[in-house]
Amino acid sequence: MTPEIGQFALVLAFVTAIYQFAVPMYGAWRGDSRLMAVAPPAALLQFGLIALSFGCLTWSYITSDFSVENVVRNSHSDKPLIYKISGVWGNHEGSMLLWVMVLALFGSAVAAFGRNLPPSLKARVISVQGSISIAFLSFILLTSNPFNRLDPAPIEGQGLNPILQDPALAIHPPLLYCGYVGLSIAFSFAIAALIEGKVDAAWARWVRPWTLAAWMFLTSGIILGSWWAYYELGWGGWWFWDPVENASFMPWLIATALLHSAIVVEKRNALKVWTILLAILAFSLSLVGTFLVRSGVLTSVHAFAVDPARGVYVLGILCVFIGGALTLYAWRAPTIKTGGLFAPISREGALVVNNLLLTAACAAVFIGTLYPLVLESITGAKISVGPPYFNLTFGPLILPLLLLVPVGPMMSWKRADMWAAIQRLWAAAVVALVVAVAAMAWQWRGPWLAPLGAALGAWLIAASVQEMLNRAKFASVPFAVALARLKGLPGAAWGMMIAHAGVGVMVIGIVGITSWKQEIVTVLKPGETQEIGGRTVTFIGENPVTGPNYTADRTRFRISSGGVEVSEIWSEKRIFKPSNQPTTEVGIEPFLDGDLYVVAGDRAADNGRTVRFYFHPLVWMIWLGAALMFLGGCCSIFDRRYRVGAPKKAKIPVTQPAE
C-alpha cells in the first residue's frame, strides 16, 4: 500500500503542477489578484505531495520492500540503515524524485517567504516554477517511475554500488541538487521579469540571496564530491576535469558571476539585462548538467541511467526551457529600462570584468566538456579532453581574475581611481612576495610556477584581511574603537572577505597538491619500511575484517617521524555482498604540511603486497578554502542590511544626477 500511495501522490503532484503553472499565469495576465493568490497554496501543496511520495519511497527502502523494483535494484536487506536511506537517491529514479522535491521546496519557499513581492511577480515566479515541475514530473512518471512494482517479488535486493556506500556520497547528491535546483529560482525570477518587462526593486533584493543560497549548496556539493573522489577512488587526485564534475562546475562559475552582478543590480540598479541573462544561463547549465549525467551520454561512475528514451526526453526539456527562455530574452530584454550609469573604472566596472572572465572560463569548460560528445556523435571518433586542455584555456582566464579579486573591493562605486586602489594594497603585495620567497626556499627544486601560485594565494588572503582592517580603520583610530568597528561591519563585508580569503587558501592548496605531490609504488613485506614526505611508514601486516555487508583484507601501517611513532593507519581491500564487487579503502593520515595517503594494492609473492604511497602537500587547504567560501556565503546571506551603493564624490563636482 505504501508504494501505491507514493505513486498516487506523485500523480497528484503532477496535476497540481499543471494548476500551479496555468492558473496564476492566467491570473497575472488578466490582472486578477484572486487567481494570482492561488499560486502560494498550490506551490506548498505540490511540495507536500512530492514529500509524501518521497517519504513512501524511503519507507519502502527502510523496510526492504522488494515488491518495488527500484528497491530491488538498489538495496539489500543487509545494508546499514544510512545506506538504505541514501540508496533512495543513489539511483536514477530516486535521484530524479529528489530533484523535483527540492524544486518544489524552493517553489514553496517563495510562496512562504515572498510576502514583500508584488503579487503579479510572485504569481509568475511560482508559475514558472510550476512549469519546470510539470516537465520533470512527467519525465519521472513516463520514463523513470521509481514505484514500478514486481509480482512476484524477489526475496532479496541486488545492493547498491559499493563505492557509493559512503557518508560523503550520502549527502553529496542532495547538496548538489539544492544547488542546481536553487538556481531555478533565479531563472523563474528572470523569466517573470521578462514577461512583465520590468525589474522591480524587490526583484533585485530577492535574486541575490537565492542565488547565494544555491551557490553555497553547489559549492559544498561539489567539494564533497571532490573530497569523496580523493579518499574513496584511491587515485590520489581531487579534481579530474571529468565531464560529471564539469557539469556541476559550469553552473557554479555562472552562479558566481551572477552573485557578483546581482550586487550591482541590488546597489546600483544597473546591469539588469545582463543579470537576467546570467540567471537564465545559470539554470540552463544546471539543466545541461542534469542532461549530461542523467542521459547516460557520459560513461563514468555516475552514468547509471543508460537509456536513450530518457536522454531524448531530458534533451526535449532542455530545448524547451533554454530555447524558450533565450527567445523570450531576445524578444523582451530590450523593453527593460536600464538603470544607473558608471564609469569603466569603478566597482561596477570591476564586477563586469569579473563577470566576463568567469563567463569566458565557463565557456572554456563548456567546450572542453561538450566537444568530445559532439565530435563523437558526428564522426564517431572518440577523443578525450583532459587536464592539458583545461590548464591551457581555463588557467589563463582564471589567473587574471584571481589577481584582480582584491582590487575590486578597494574601488568605489560609480567611478574610482585604479592606482589609488592598488596602492592601498601594498601590504598584501609585500606578504605575497615574502610567501613567494619562502616557498622557493622550502621547495627549491620544485616547478618554477609553484611559488608564484602560492604568492597568488597569499595575495588573496592578505588583501582580504587588509580590506577588513582598512574598513575598521585600525591605522587611524584607537585599537579598541577599531575593534568595535570591526565587529560592527556588515555581514556582507565579512562574507566577502572570508569567501575571497577562502579562494586564496584553496589556491595554495591546489598549488601544493599539483606541484609538490610525491608518489611511490612499491612491494612491501611485513616489517619493511618506506620513506615518503619526510616520514617513515612501516608495513605492520594484514588481517581479515568482516563488515556488515562486506569482507576485507586490512593492511596496517605505522607512521613514524624522526624515529618517533606518530600514528597507525590502515587501508582495506573490500569485497561487497552480494555483487562480489571489490573496492579499496584508502588510509590517510593528515599532517599540517600535507596528507600521507596509502593505498593497498594486490598481493605479491612471499606475503608481500603492492602498496602505493602518496604525499599530498597542503591538500587540507583545498577543503578549508571551500569551507571558508561556504562560511562567507553564510555571513552574507544572514546579513539583513541592504544598502544602495554609495558613489564617492568626484573631484570635479557633478551636479547632474546619474539617471
Binding site: V11, L45, D200
Partner: protein, 379 residues
Amino acid sequence: MLSAPLLSGYMLLWISFAVLTALVLLALLSPLRTRVRDEDAGRASFDLAVYRDQLSELERDQKAGLIPDSEADAARNEVSRRILAAQSELASKEEVARPVPAWLSVATVIAVPAIALGGYMMIGRPDLPSLPLQARIDAAVANQDMAAMVRQVEKHLEQKPNDARGWAVLAPAYKRIGRLNDAANAYRKALALSGPDPDLMTDMGESLVLANNGLVSNEAQEVFEAVRKAAPKHMKARFYLALALQQEGKTADALAGWNAMLAESSPDAPWRSAVEQQISSAGGQLPKGPALTEEQIQQGQQMSATDRTAMIRSMVEGLDERLAADGSDIDGWLRLIRARMVLGDKEKATDALNRASEALKNDQQAVTQLEEARKALGL
C-alpha cells in the same frame, strides 16, 4: 495470497486516494473563495517599501560611522530620486479581485480527479500490497511464500549452521524455487551433519543432475552408486544410473536397467510412467522413434515439476540426436519443433525448423508442412 486483512488493505488504499484527492481539491479551490485584500495591490508600493528600507539602513550605517557622510548623502539622493519616481507610479492600480470564472472551479473539480486517477491507473498497481521484508518473512508460512520461507530457514541456519534438519528442509525448498546448485549444497551440508542417508543422497544427486541440465555428472553418478551399494532397491537412484548409462551411449544397458525396474515395481508405482517414457525414448521398440506427443507432455505435467523437467529434457534431446543422424523423418521434426515450443525455447525451435528445412529441401510435401508449422507457431 488474497486473504481477509489484505482485502481491507485494498479498501484502505482507495480510501487514502479519495482523502488525498479531496485535500488537494480543497487546497486548490479554497483560495478562490477567500476575500483578497485590495489595499496593498498597488504595484509601486512594493518598490517604495524596499526604498524606505534602504533609507533606514543608510541611516543606521551612517550613525555607526561605517560610511562617510559624503557617501551617505550621495546614496540618500539616489534613493530619494527612486522614491519620487515610484510615488508617481503609485496612482495607477493594476490589479483587482474579479469574480472567479465559474468554469475554472468546475474544470478543476472534474479535471484533477480525472487526470490523477487516469494517470495512476496507467502506471499504478493497486492490487499489490506492500511487502516489507520482515513482515513477509514472518507471514511466509501463512502465505505459502516459498522464497520467504527459504529466507526464514536461511536466517535460522546463519545462527545455527549445524542444524541438519534445517538443511534437509531448506534443500527441497531451494529445488522448488529453482536454485539447484544451492539445493545440492544444502543436501551436502545435511548429509555431512547427519551421516549417510539414501534418500538425501539421491535427492542431492538429482539436484546435481538438474543443475547440470539433465546430464548425470561423475559426482552425481558416484552418489547414486553409493546409494545402490547401501540400498540396492532404491528406485530413483537406479533410474538415474540407467540414465547415466544411456548418456554414455550404452543404450542397451540402460534399457536393461529400466526394464528391471519395471519388472520389480507394482503396476501403480508412481515412477512407472517416467520409466516407460524413458524406455520408449531410448529404445527401438516403436517403429518411428519416440512418440513425443502433446499427450505425453501433458502426462509429464502431472509429475512433480523437477521430474518433469528432467524427463522432457532427456526425451527431447534424444529425439534431437536421432534426427541429427537421420533427418528424413518429417513427423519427428514436427514433434521436435512443437516440443521445443512447449518448453518455451523459441530459439531452439527455430533452429530445429531450419535444420528440418535443410534436410528435407527436396521433399515438396514436407517443405509445405514445415512452412505451415512455421506460420502456426509464429516462428
